[in-house]
Amino acid sequence: MSARSPGPAEGPAVLVDGMERELARERTLLRRKVSVAAVLTVLVMGSSLPHMLGLHSLPLLPFWFTSPWTQLILTTPVLFWCGRDFFTGAVSAFRQHFADMNTLVAAGTGIAYLTSLFTTLFPQVLIAEGLPADVYYETVAVILTLVLLGRLLEARARGQTSEAIRRLLQLQPPSARVLRDGQPVEVPVSMVVVGDLVQVRPGEKIPVDGEVSEGSSWVEESMLTGEPTPVAKAAGDAVIGASMNRSGSFTFRVSRVGADTVLAQIVELVRQAQSSRTQVQRLADQVVGWFVPVVIALAIAAFVVWFLISGNPVLAMLFLVSVLVIACPCALGLATPTSIMVASGKGAENGLIFRSAEALETAGKLRTIVLDKTGTLTRGQPEVTDFERLAGGVLPADTLLALTAALESRSEHPLAEAITTYARSQLKDSELPAVEDFEAVAGRGVQGAIGGQQVRVGTPRWFDELGINTASLKPLVERLEVAARSVAVVVVDGRLEGCFGVADPLKSSSAAAVAGLRRLGLHVVMLSGDARRTAEVVAAQVGIERVIAEVRPADKASVIRKLQEQGEGPVAMVGDGINDSPALAQADVGIAMGTGTDVAIAASDITLISGNLAGVPAAIELSRAAMANIRQNLFFAFAYNVAGIPIAAGLLFPLTGWLLNPMIAGAAMAFSSVSVVSNALRLRNFRPARLPLPTT
């Protein structure tokens, strides 16, 4: 956590903007360096043209232009200004006993430059030996220009991924219309504080997060959630800063500003993901640490062997430089980060927030996916569909409803809320009796004392366990469960009094999303606290075959662990992020269904900003695309180097007379960087398979 983390009034935009400017400056400088290097390189190549063609002079070129001294003057700024970073990087790494791509580039071009400098100053030494007094300035210039070009492409790729972040940040409007003493006043967003009342008119953006206090409207949240359809908002509904108000006017009370807003959190998560690394990357980094010293050893060995064979120091030096340059693993360093950056930026665009590179990596390897029923497959807004008084009950309906409502209003369980709402709507009198000794029994129900009577509302299973005879209930419970209803039974002083059937409608996206997951070859499991029969009916409706039912919230994590132990992993858990958090943490990949305002985003590896389950297959597809992309990149990065080393070392020379010019080695290496970066940028065209999905 930064000690400089923005205060409540200061949005993340300020920090990111500063960083953006600096990165932009870096890109500008790099572009200038590449341009200068390119121009000088073309001149140096022109200058060395007659020599390359094996001529003493060309008719159109003046003599001085082809002089080694001209080439020296042209190449020196390329080495010392354009290529400065490679040398400082190499020195910094060297001091830390570390060798990386800078080491190879700096050593290769440095040696070629020094040799050429020697030839330029003392050509007679070589001529006396009967050797051509050749210089290799064009090699130095070409290699540096190509590597710089690779670096510029990398910076561009970074720029494009942070583009996603910038676009997110630009969504926030600069000012808000705050009610001060009942009068609307236009103030900058940074001056808005929690608790303020803010007015929003049609067509305006909502400045910060809050809760609607008055009015209603349709709000488009697609920029944050990827959901195309506007969402209805009325008093009590949460609104997200940066979303777009469509038709109505409303006033909302500010609940979060600055770095606490959903927008700021999304930005922070994307940045975090972009600065993490995958297992593959860790491995690649370790490989580079070994690879470079081995290459240096091979290069020196090539020099020694060729010197012993031929006694020709110039030839030996060319082999040395070729090996150093072709082996440069700079593309290896680019291979994973570029793909990760592009993919996480792409995810953010689609409302899929990956918390780390590992999350992106693991999501592609998933074999089993566990979906929580309530709130994930269903809307999580249950409604009472059936209410029946039971034979043997003595209480009148009104009394029964009042007792039930009194007890259930104390519970925060979604079913309890549904029952309370229903009971209240049936009662004329809004006064509820007082409850004493209230207790919620997790996964079972609630109990308490009301006016001397002991009242319990809970699952039929609970009453079985308590030893209350529920045999008479069986046909009713079965009928309700087959209709996918959750059943709650009311027992007063041990008497079965009433029975509620509660339905939690499926999200319209669920069936298509499950089908999408199965198409991706995943084993789909539904997890539910409901009775087995209810759960199975719901599962059948969305096309899930395997159901783990009657699981108490606390046991969800152990269910995931069991699946992992049974070798069905890696396992993903999809939940609504709050009460599922232990299970989300236990899973190899925890996927939270953000409802757009959940702060529980942080508990998961992947957050779907929209509550749309279609995001899950999309996230997995994206992850697979990214990992395939990384594998291709590693191939591009390594293939050239490994295949090039024997040629560069001159192994083919005795057989074929082939000798790899160091400049070609440089081109091959640059080509591998270009392949890697352009391959990673291909991910920008990623589109999740479109599912015909209305919002829920």
Partner: protein, 141 residues
């Protein structure tokens, strides 16, 4: 362009004195051995973070062409605060990234910016600049 150059003028055998050949071979082998030792051998060193009150381990790192110190030793299981003081204008150093902690920190020029990291298991955690050109290592032991 001489893509695969024919042997002609460059490829020429020169009779070198045996002593010179021997010398080149020996120097070459020594150089190979030395660089392998330098890059791959075990090297101690590193600067230990100081203990402050409240169990926090603190160290200030100067960012000037590199990280000084670049090898930082801290104890496992204790929170730490790394203060980066950046004086190098190179924009490459404007950001420092701790990939294992999923942390990136922006370093304004001529200012000290701190990063607090949670207690960590023993291990070697590299960090690097935004362009992965300059590196450092956090050694937790």
């Amino acid at each position: 362009m001489q893509i695969l150059a024919a042997a002609a003028p460059l490829w020429r055998t020169i009779d070198q004195p045996v002593a010179l050949k021997g010398l080149v071979a020996i120097v070459g082998l020594l150089l190979i051995a030395w660089q392998l030792w330098w890059f791959l051998g075990r090297h101690g060193g590193g600067v230990a973070a100081r203990q402050s009150e409240a169990g926090l381990q603190e160290i200030t790192i100067l960012v000037d062409g590199g990280y000084a110190p670049s090898r930082i030793k801290v104890k496992a299981g204790q929170p730490m605060r790394l203060a980066f003081h950046r004086v190098d204008p190179s924009s490459c150093l404007a950001q420092v990234i701790f990939p294992d902690f999923h942390k990136s920190l922006d370093l304004p020029l001529d200012a000290t910016t701190s990063l607090e990291l949670p207690p960590t298991k023993a291990g070697v955690y590299p960090f690097h600049c935004g362009m992965n050109m300059v590196r450092g290592v956090l050694e937790v032991e």
